[in-house]
């Protein structure tokens, strides 16, 4: 994907951000100079690809609405009106959206009533991905997703380009975001490395069927059917709908979303590729991993399967397709066998071996609070990571790197107080990792709090950051509520 024939040593030309952009009225952005111009438009088919949803919604509304169907003519006019209006709005928004690369940032001007300028500094870009939603793929178009720490997902989206352009631009941006060394490195062409592993569809399907959510919903559904047909006990079939959804939705999501999940090791770190309709690519830059979560549902444990998710700085919900926002971080492995998981973990965190970490179990009086699950509560630490474990139905193992620890909290509720227990939270940036050492003895909790604080402090001092972007200090703003220091994208109302 990265064949950035990026002119890395391109003369830095100083664009004046206040000068009105000379409109390059050529319809398609010409492939030739992708670098600094006074603002390019996106692909002219963008409004159509973005707006096809309107069409579907309108058609759906017509099919479902009795009143509309009986009055076909009006419906047709209304539909056409909605379509034309939508297309017009889309076209206007396309016309007024321009992007350009300045010396140190990507600048996107948009909006025709409310002009808006968004500046995404290169050094704030944590990861750059090329995504191809289904419709876009039909037209060989792609969007560029720039992840910025602390920003929401839509902050760094630029859609659409032709796929070649998107790949090229991604290369350029990667070079800019990572500095000179990376630029020189990236100048050599990269051959597509062989995949580290491909998750077979059969296992994906089996794993989903055996996951706790699906099994639980399935059991509920069967009970409901038995209850209504055999026992004539009409609980109301409405209850079946969410249950059915609980069965179908994960299967759909896993089998379609993770179809041919492929893990590749590239120069920029591990790269994942997946999806049947929406081809999703994600890169895991080394050193940007904040923590990871290993999930093992009850039955998977018997089969030795587990799932691995990662917290990556700046990536909150990069997993699912368009628009759907979920907090999954980056999926590193949807389902893998023990050896595969160990291999993947060793690549992400060199020197990490879960089996060598001594785990401390929770005291037995926790059974008053968790009759079954207390046996599975544990934490452990070595000189690199802290690991917490919990859950019986679905065992979750959270791993936090010491030098990524944000803050440490101790909490205690009234019942815990009676039992002389406390929870210790190790906070990491938003993501799937959720490291809580639940229900520890008070002395134990005090020790853990102190030890983890010390370990985090030491780790911050000794660990050298491998990437230039990473060491960028997040300067705190001295003015209190103008909390803008950390926000990477600035919205300046352009004059």
């Amino acid at each position: 994907m990265t064949e950035p024939n990026a002119p890395s040593g391109a003369p830095p030309h100083a664009p004046d951000p206040d000068a009105p952009a000379p409109p390059p009225y050529g319809a398609t952005p010409e492939p030739a100079p992708l670098v600094e111009r006074e603002g390019d438009r996106l692909h002219p088919l963008t409004p159509f690809v973005k707006g096809w949803g309107y069409f579907v919604v309108a058609a759906f509304a017509m099919a479902n609405n009795e009143g509309l169907r009986s009055n076909l003519k009006i419906a047709g006019i209304a539909l056409a009106g909605v379509l034309v209006g939508g297309m017009l709005l889309g076209a206007l928004s396309w016309w007024f959206t321009k992007w350009q690369l300045t010396d140190d940032a990507v600048r996107v001007d948009s909006g025709f009533l409310f002009r808006r300028t968004r500046i995404i500094r290169f050094d704030r870009i944590q990861a750059i991905d090329v995504a191809q939603p289904f419709v876009a793929r039909l037209f060989n178009m792609a969007e560029l997703r720039m992840d910025v720490a602390g920003g929401s997902r839509s902050d760094g989206k630029l859609s659409y380009f032709t796929s070649e352009e998107a790949a090229k631009l991604r290369g350029i941006l990667l070079v800019r975001a990572k500095g000179k060394e990376a630029a020189e490195e990236a100048a050599q062409p990269e051959q597509e490395p062989p995949p580290l592993l491909v998750v077979p569809t059969g296992r994906l399907l089996g794993a989903t069927l055996l996951s706790s959510t699906v099994l639980g919903s399935l059991a509920g559904l069967i009970w409901l059917i038995v209850a209504t047909t055999v026992l004539e006990f009409h609980v109301g079939l409405f209850a079946g709908l969410p249950l059915l959804l609980g069965v179908v939705q994960p299967i759909w999501k896993q089998v379609v979303g993770n179809h041919r999940f492929t893990l590749v090791e590239s120069r920029d770190g591990l790269r994942t590729k997946r999806g049947l309709f929406d081809l999703q690519r994600q890169t895991v830059p080394p050193g940007r991993v904040q923590g990871l979560l290993i999930t093992e549902p009850l039955i998977w444990r018997r089969l030795g399967w587990s799932r691995v998710d990662l917290d990556i700085a700046g990536v909150v919900g990069g997993v699912s397709g368009d628009g759907e926002e979920d907090q999954n971080g980056v999926q590193l492995l949807p389902v893998g066998e023990r050896t595969e998981v160990a291999g993947v973990l060793a690549r992400v965190l060199p020197g990490f071996d879960l089996s060598r970490i001594e785990m401390h179990r929770a005291p037995s009086r926790v059974k008053w609070l968790r009759p079954v699950g207390w046996r599975y509560l544990a934490y452990g630490a070595d000189d690199q990571v802290l690991v917490t474990q919990r859950g019986w139905v679905s065992r979750k193992t959270s791993v936090v790197l010491h030098h990524k620890t944000q803050s440490v909290r101790v909490q205690q509720g009234p019942i815990q107080r009676r039992l002389r227990l406390a929870n210790v939270h190790i906070d990491t940036p938003q993501g799937p990792t959720d490291a809580i050492a639940l229900h520890r003895d008070l002395a134990d909790a005090a020790d853990l709090l102190e030890a983890q604080t010390t370990r985090a402090r030491e780790a911050r001092r000794t660990t050298s950051a491998p990437l230039p972007v990473q060491t960028q200090p997040n300067a705190p703003s001295p003015e209190g509520s103008s909390s803008s220091a950390a926000s990477p994208a600035e919205d300046n109302p352009a004059t």
């Binding site: 944590q126 720490a149 602390g150 940007r288 904040q290 700085a313 700046g314 030098h403 990524k404 620890t405 944000q406 803050s407 440490v408 909290r409 101790v410 909490q411 205690q412 509720g413 009234p414 107080r417 002389r420 406390a422 939270h425 906070d427 990491t428 940036p429 938003q430 008070l442 002395a443 909790a445 005090a446 709090l449 102190e450 604080t453 985090a456 402090r457 911050r460 950051a465 972007v469 990473q470 060491t471 960028q472 200090p473 997040n474 300067a475 705190p476 703003s477 001295p478 209190g480 509520s481 909390s483 803008s484 220091a485 950390a486």
Partner: protein, 162 residues
């Protein structure tokens, strides 16, 4: 082992008792509104006896909140360690947060109209995770701005990227 939420190796600073005053005023306003609304609702629909009982109930609730607010205010304290800020609070649900200065993304100082009239402010420290709950209410404005400047300076000096 009360030490867990207030380790004794640092010097703790309590927050201003005015915090309790502000919260009592808020509670009084809320209880007053609830009492009046209930008074008329019960009085007009059932009987004024129930209405009177309701007012008594709300009054009892207010008295309870009065003492609870006092205890809660006394539970708030913070300490500045060499590398971390410690904030501890809570009676029923207790919490101690340890935030390294270098993890700080930004600091907020906020004061509502009621807080302003009593001369207190709230300082809140934000890290890259929303789970970090390092908020110190009930600070004298001078102390709040001192803390803000100090936290900013320390945060800058020890800053560490993501």
């Amino acid at each position: 082992m009360d030490d867990l939420f207030a380790p004794s190796d640092v010097s703790w600073t309590p927050v201003s008792p005015k915090l309790a005053a502000v919260r009592r005023v808020t509670s009084a306003i809320f209880c007053g509104l609830v009492a009046v609304a209930g008074l008329f609702a019960f009085g007009l629909m059932l009987s004024w006896l129930y209405a009177g009982l309701w007012v008594l109930l709300v009054a009892a609730g207010f008295a309870w909140s009065w003492s609870l607010i006092g205890r809660n205010q006394r539970s708030w304290k913070y300490a500045e360690r060499e590398d971390e800020l410690l904030v501890s609070h809570g009676i029923m649900f207790r919490q101690l947060v340890v935030v390294p200065y270098g993890r700080m993304q930004f600091v907020d100082v906020a004061a509502g109209p009621l807080e302003r009239s009593y001369g207190i402010a709230t300082v809140e420290l934000h890290t890259a995770t929303p789970a970090t709950d390092a908020k110190i209410p009930g600070l004298h404005p001078d102390e709040a701005s001192r803390l803000r400047d100090r936290l900013s300076a320390l945060g800058q000096a020890q800053a560490w990227g993501l």
